[in-house]
């Protein structure tokens, strides 16, 4: 017999995600290079239909190598109804070509930063930002926010579980699942805001208790570029530059 629990186990979900990230060869690539690659691919939205399709295919190949294609596909799939609506409206009111172009652009944008966010830890993001001369306290805050993003889903689960545990909420089990979920969003948004604020405060206090505001901080790790990093970086910069030149000229 299987248990009645719905959704992923909270703690298990985190562990699984981290394991997936660790499996990708892109995990070994320098975060600055991954950021450049993501930005480079996002610039391809300026291209016309045929070239966008080619860029999308190229990006898909990169994700395939990085074992991230299923993850990116899931992210795009979540937007399926929005993408479909845009496609249909553009097709009906403008043209099929524009509908296809806009839809492909949005698809590309939706998945562009997967390679960065799915394979970069908050600590690496912080190091990359510091390398870009972002002051430490801001780099740290951004990395913490980035980390918290990955925890939001778990927090939401925790909140629903907390309600379920005291008998104030039951998982929707009828065809009105969407309606029930909408109701959850409204009813749980205030507690979610309270919980997020509380977590942020507790983290702030914990960080200050360990000398977060020290002017003498010295990083333990430093970023270094490997040959693969240099190669990918050159590709990203060259591709981005070509696109800009083509667009401006």
């Amino acid at each position: 017999m299987k248990s009645p629990a719905r959704g992923k186990a909270r703690r298990g979900a985190v562990a699984t995600r981290l394991a997936t990230v660790a499996d990708s060869p892109l995990r070994q690539v320098d975060p600055r290079v991954k950021l450049a690659l993501s930005l480079g691919f996002s610039l391809t939205v300026m291209l016309p239909l045929a070239q966008i399709a080619a860029a999308l295919a190229l990006y898909a190949l990169l994700l395939l190598w990085g074992r991230l294609l299923p993850l990116a596909a899931r992210q795009v799939w979540r937007l399926k109804w929005v993408l479909l609506a845009i496609f249909v409206v553009d097709w009906l009111f403008v043209s099929l070509e524009l509908a296809a172009t806009i839809t492909l652009r949005l698809t590309l944008l939706a998945g562009t930063f997967t390679l960065f966010f799915a394979t970069t830890t908050p600590g690496e993001l912080r190091l990359a930002l510091e390398w870009l001369h972002v002051p430490y306290r801001y780099a740290f805050s951004v990395s913490l926010a980035f980390q918290s993003l990955t925890l939001l889903e778990e927090e939401w689960h925790a909140l629903r579980e907390a309600q379920q545990a005291r008998g104030a909420w039951s998982p929707p089990a009828s065809w009105r699942v969407l309606l029930a979920q909408l109701g959850d969003w409204v009813a749980l948004s205030v507690p979610a805001a309270v919980m997020t604020t509380r977590r942020a405060w507790a983290m702030t206090e914990a960080a200050y208790a360990r000398g977060f505001d020290s002017p003498h901080r010295r990083p333990y790790r430093r970023l270094t570029l490997t040959r693969l990093d240099w190669g990918l970086l050159a590709l990203a910069v060259a591709g981005g530059a070509l696109l800009l030149v083509w667009r401006l000229v």
Binding site: T204, A207, A209, S214, R218, Y220
Partner: protein, 471 residues
């Protein structure tokens, strides 16, 4: 010798509700051990924050008196400088872990000291070895059990080697063996010159420390009576007899088996305590019983799936309303006012009815979370994850009375706890090991037999009193 910490008539009032800390003076010199005790809600955590400078740097409110750390007045010294002199381990470990791996968690505090990488590496390795964190090193702190998180939080502070260490209930989530180990480590730190100040309800573990100085804080500063009235299950509808059957239950988290083929049964009207080492899956078992956790196997009562309310180990997760009153009534269409009044009085919450739950002490929060569950009268009973956390002796006794009240009404009460004094009060004890149930039986029987405890690596402190067993 100059005092490492000196507090002179320090008092604090929070702007939102006025409670905080009544005036108290204390000093601690290098190598001294100070135990700070007092009833739940008396301001131990507030005092800890005053001693480390977090109050007034991060908290608004009225601070009276003065605190000096190594001769530096906390109000006039930057927080990072104070953090170098005094490390604080907070009561709720889950809330103080910032990084994505245990290793990063330890590195964070060391980087802020401005140490060269080689020294950071050396201290990192030492802390990992000292706290036995090697198997957890690359794990995300959020995926650890409460006890494991507590160890990581302690390691992260101790790796910084501050001359003053303030620990807010450091033993609350640790099993007996881990608690005894930590007490030994704290004693070693004190011998090496660290001033160790501990706010702790499980003070028995510290009783053998030489030259332990105790500072006892008074009643809660709100000047209102915070005492539970005797409650024996009045207002609870009685439940016909039933049996909960757990058969071959296996739970995997992130592919890792946490519970393996676990089987046991419990009957309505029973007070069952589950004891085991940190990380053995006690919380996971409660989550499975409450229907929150996927599992393989069979969990049922005669009527089908059990309906059991669960109070989380971290009760904060269950609280978010503007007052205790609103918290209890949240999403409850009809409230039994008589039962509501019984509960508030029985759990010692009547004075806090209009107080925001999050402003209460950890022990009080735990009781509010329990009241939210009980007010809904869960059909089959309640599951309490570490209920004695943050509770003083009077409130622990209240918890036992409450459990008795529930069992008298035919409900099942399942408690997971590291507090063997509480476990000894149960009708039956279940010892949980990595391979499943190691032993089960009445506490009087199990406490007489050291073998199952030794198999689990659990230390039974000599001061545990089992009802009905003479010394």
């Amino acid at each position: 010798m100059a005092a490492s910490v000196c507090a002179e008539q320090v008092a604090f009032r929070y702007p939102q509700h006025g409670y905080g800390l009544a005036p108290v003076s204390l000093t601690a010199r290098s190598g001294e051990r100070v135990l700070i005790t007092g009833p739940s809600g008396c301001g131990k955590s507030t005092l800890a924050r005053c001693l480390t400078g977090l109050i007034p740097h991060l908290y608004r409110g009225e601070l009276h008196g003065a605190v000096w750390l190594d001769g530096l007045r906390t109000t006039e010294t930057p927080l990072w400088r104070l953090a170098e002199r005094a490390g604080m381990v907070f009561q709720n470990p889950a809330a103080q872990l910032l990084a994505t791996s245990v290793e990063e968690e330890l590195i964070f505090g060391l980087e802020n000291l401005g140490l060269p990488p080689a020294t950071i590496r050396e201290r990192l390795e030492a802390a990992v070895a000292q706290f036995g964190l090697e198997p957890l090193r690359q794990r995300a702190p959020q995926t650890l059990s409460g006890g494991e998180q507590q160890k990581v939080a302690l390691a992260a502070i101790m790796a910084r080697r501050p001359p003053v260490l303030v620990l807010d209930e450091p033993l609350s989530m640790l099993d007996g063996t881990a608690a005894a180990t930590l007490v030994t480590e704290m004693a070693a730190l004190a011998r090496a010159g660290t001033a160790v100040m501990v706010c702790e309800h499980r003070a028995e573990y510290l009783s053998e420390w030489p030259e332990l100085r105790t500072v006892r804080l008074g009643e809660p500063t709100n000047q209102r009576v915070n005492r539970a009235e005797n409650w024996h299950g009045e207002g609870l509808a009685s439940r016909p007899p039933f049996t909960l059957t757990v058969e071959g239950v296996t739970v995997r988290l992130g592919g890792r088996p946490v519970l393996r083929e676990l089987s046991f049964s419990a009957r309505g009207g029973e007070f069952l305590a589950i004891v085991g080492r940190n990380g053995v899956g006690k919380t996971t078992l409660l989550r499975a019983l409450a229907g929150l956790q996927k599992y393989e196997g069979h969990i049922a009562v005669e009527d089908g799936r059990p309906v059991l309310g669960l109070v989380f180990q971290n009760a904060e997760l269950q609280l978010f309303n503007a007052s205790v009153r609103e918290e209890l009534r949240y999403r409850l269409p009809v409230v039994d006012e008589t039962f509501y009044a019984y509960l508030l009085a029985g759990l010692g919450l009547t004075p806090y009815e209009t107080t925001p739950p999050l402003l209460l002490s950890e022990g009080e929060k735990k009781r509010v979370a329990l009241a939210t569950v009980l007010l809904r009268q869960p059909r089959d009973g309640v599951l309490l994850d570490e209920p004695s956390l943050g509770q003083d002796a009077a409130h622990k006794a209240m918890l036992v009375r409450l459990a008795r009240g529930l069992t008298a009404a035919g409900r099942l009460v399942v408690v997971t706890t590291h507090d063997l004094a509480l476990a000894a009060q149960a009708d039956r004890l279940l010892l949980l090991g990595p391979e499943g149930t190691t032993a089960a039986g009445p506490p009087a029987q199990l406490f007489r037999d050291p073998a199952p405890w030794a198999r689990l690596g659990l230390w039974v402190p000599p001061w545990i009193q089992v009802p009905g067993v003479a010394d």
